[in-house]
Amino acid sequence: MATRVKQEPVSPTSRDVSSPPPGVNHNSQIVEREQRILNLLQKSTKAISDKEILLEIPDLSPQDRATIINNLLQKGFLDVFKQGEKLVYKFKEPSCPSKIKGADNEEKIVYSIIEKAGNKGIWTRDLRVECNLDQTTLNKILKKLESEKVIKAVKSVAAARKKVYMLYSLEPDSSVTGGAWYNDQDFEAEFVDVLNQQCYRFLHQKKEAVKNCKDGPIVAQNMASASSKDVWKYISELGISKVQLAVQDIETILNTLVYDGKAERSVLADGSLMYRAVESLLPPPGIVRTPCGVCPILKQCSDIGSINPNNCVYMTEWLE
């Protein structure tokens, strides 16, 4: 998507005519402004447009703006996108080989592969396959790049001991870190469980509250339902979470309740998700109230052989 910005309003030749001759003064001003725009781009997470640049530097002439943008583009500091009719710019970590100065070709290849992997990173094995280098050379290169803070290794939550490499400046994707539920590669199961219980409590209370509702079942059901946002608010106010949770995180938790068979989910016309506590259709079935129904060795048990109902300890215990 990156393109060169067309210098629409003024062609290079006409600029020479219409603008003041580029003096030393002007040049240093451009350098200074280029830095300011770069800062602006770096600070903003979203792409910015010409308007925002003008807000930062109101007296920037269109020609200068074009020069600066082109300069930055050339240095690989930004990407240009088209948003509707407008052009917007987004900061990009320059892939400038200058960062790995003095690098040999092999290093460059490794670097470019890692760069391509973006913030999802790349696994050493895949890396080796792609760059076609032998293990020792690759390790050496990786170590060097790592010590120069060009790349970094991030532990992935997908598997214990699985490391992925990505550029040093990148924030790892949540599929790598696991998002709110991971603390340094460890899945915080207890935290999830607590949230799961609290969410259920909230929904359950709502359901209990409408038990004697006289206005018909639909009203009762609506009153018992809560949007994910409601639950999110409740959980946030409880203050059980050290990290700031997003509504989506709560939806993830609420979905586990759905899969626990304790809640049901429905979608409103405006697309928002509603959750409601439900009772299961049946009480625990008869079979689980017998020792054999929950017996771990049921498969091995028979009336001949050493595991049999007549000398079974589970039975004896249960019968006591």
Partner: protein, 516 residues
């Protein structure tokens, strides 16, 4: 049919009718259909014994016969599903007692004991027992009441007429009688001469007006009630009591227009439902919100009813097949919760919801640590609750293992069959253990029974309290204590058997509906 199923069947038969009938039943189960002599040769029992056993089995409706390859020789076959009815006796009796009262329960008990019988005989026997129970002078005072109960049991189709041998053209009985009963007579109540009953009761010959007409229990009718009860309870739990009541009424209306075991009922108009409800209770609080209730039940994930049309204020169908699918899912999920924990059940439901899913996705969505999720998933796989499907990325023959991925899914029918199978096994185990418990203490139990009957006799003869105490003391305190303990154990095991029977009932029903 599985081996486990056969084992349970023969065990049940043995318990109720003794060793020999058990043997004959097992033999029939194994071979399907076979003639008398071939049972004799494979069981090594005498012809007389086999004949008696077959007779018993046929009498109780547990076996049938028909002409085999040669139309001069009858071949017998066991009806294994019917054998399970023997387990449900307490439930049948309880149902009749709550619906029709003690007298009807007596009638039913006589039927269960005898397998079949004429109305007059059964009524006289029930009357005699009632007399003993209530310590009445005369059994005949109960006749009118019992007759009425009998008629209502027939009217409600809990009893039905036994088929009778068809008359052949030449009037001689055929070699292998064909048993038939006319449709219109099946539930036609008998007309009984009460006076004749009294005469019969006194031991004199009389004609009660039902010569040659025999009755038996219509087990299907009971099972229909059990089925309905499951559905009503389920909706009561899910929605509320009113919701349950609506399902009950809908089922009632379903019978008017649909064959009882159909997969889907014919449409029931809203107006008819409303009128029925109003007739039943003009003040019913449900009336006001009836349409809402129907909507809520319809929208519930269980899918018990579906709206099929708009005429008559909306038309509703009961979807039996879907209902029992939902119930079977629920039952299996509950079993998983108890056997493998709630996390495993979460995984199971997730797989059910996604139809096909990869391991990676499971741990992500279920929010269970990767290692635990993997363990649980494979545990479920190993125990056959989950199935796995391999999907190849490339069609190449020698594609390596990471060229294909594995998807988990659930085949509910498969799982239901497996659950049934281990229910049979558990049932078999519980019964075996119960027999052992009472066998081990047989002497003690016999002694206790003897003591009890002596005491009862003496009490009747008006013995003094001291004498009675003396008799009681024949049992040592330790013996009494042991006896209660043993009885408790036996009781507990019998309860377990009843619980198991309920799971079996539900699963069988699901499979019946889904494979019809």
């Amino acid at each position: 049919m599985s081996i486990q199923f056969g084992k349970v069947c023969s065990l049940i038969l043995r318990e109720h009718f003794g060793e020999i009938v058990g043997k004959v039943g097992t033999d029939l189960y194994k071979w399907g259909q076979k003639p008398l002599m071939s049972v004799v040769s494979s069981t090594k029992l005498s012809v007389e014994k086999v004949r008696q056993s077959l007779c018993i089995l046929v009498q109780y409706g547990l076996a049938t016969f028909s002409a085999g390859r040669s139309d001069r020789i009858a071949e017998y076959s066991l009806l294994p599903e019917k054998v399970f009815s023997l387990l449900r006796y307490p439930r049948y009796l309880y149902l009749i007692k709550t619906k029709f009262g003690v007298e009807a329960e007596m009638l039913m008990e006589e039927f269960l004991k005898a397998g079949f019988g004429s109305a007059s005989r059964i009524i006289i026997r029930a009357a005699t027992r009632l007399k003993e129970k209530k310590e009445l002078e005369d059994a005949s005072t109960n006749f009118p009441l019992l007759r009425d109960k009998f008629v209502s049991l027939v009217n409600k189709q809990y009893l039905m007429r036994c088929p009778a041998p068809e008359k052949t053209e030449d009037g001689k009985p055929s070699l292998i009688p064909k048993l038939t009963v006319a449709e219109n007579q099946l539930y036609l109540p008998p007309t009984l001469n009460i006076k004749a009953l009294t005469i019969l009761d006194e031991g004199n010959p009389a004609d009660a007006g039902d010569e040659g007409v025999y009755w038996r229990i219509n087990f299907d009718r009971f099972h229909q009630d059990f089925r309905d009860q499951i559905m009503v309870t389920a909706i009561s739990r899910r929605i509320d009591e009113n919701g349950g009541e609506i399902i009950r009424l809908l089922l009632q209306l379903m019978y008017i227009r649909t064959e009882a075991w159909a997969q889907i009922s014919n449409p029931i108009p809203f107006t008819e439902l409303r009128d029925t409800l109003r007739k039943q209770d003009p003040q019913s609080p449900i009336l006001q919100h009836l349409d809402q209730y129907l909507k809520v039940i319809e929208e519930d994930s269980s899918g018990f009813i579906t709206r099929v049309g708009d005429s008559g204020g909306g038309q509703y169908c009961i979807n039996m097949r879907k209902s029992f699918e939902a119930l079977a899912w629920n039952c299996v999920e509950n079993i998983i919760v108890e056997r493998f924990g709630s996390k495993a059940a979460r995984i199971f439901r997730l797989v059910k919801d996604r139809k096909f899913i990869e391991q990676e996705k499971i741990q992500q969505i279920a929010m269970i640590p990767a290692r635990e999720a993997k363990q649980l998933t494979y545990r479920l796989l190993q125990e056959n609750f989950l199935q796995i499907q391999e999907l190849r990325k490339s069609m190449a023959q020698n594609a390596g293992p990471n060229k294909s991925f594995f998807l988990f899914h659930v085949d509910l029918e498969e799982v239901a069959r497996m659950v049934l199978d281990f229910s049979y096994k558990a049932l078999y185990n519980a019964t075996t253990r119960r027999e052992l418990e009472s066998e081990e203490n047989r002497r003690l139990i016999e002694k206790k029974n003897k003591v009890d009957s002596i005491a009862a006799n003496m009490r009747l003869q008006g013995a003094a309290q001291e004498q009675l105490d003396e008799i009681e003391e024949m049992m040592a305190p330790a013996e009494v204590e042991l006896f209660t303990k043993v009885m408790n154990r036996v009781q507990k095991l019998s309860e377990a058997e009843l619980h198991l029977e309920q799971t079996i009932f539900l699963m069988q029903l699901f499979l019946n509906y889904s494979t019809k």
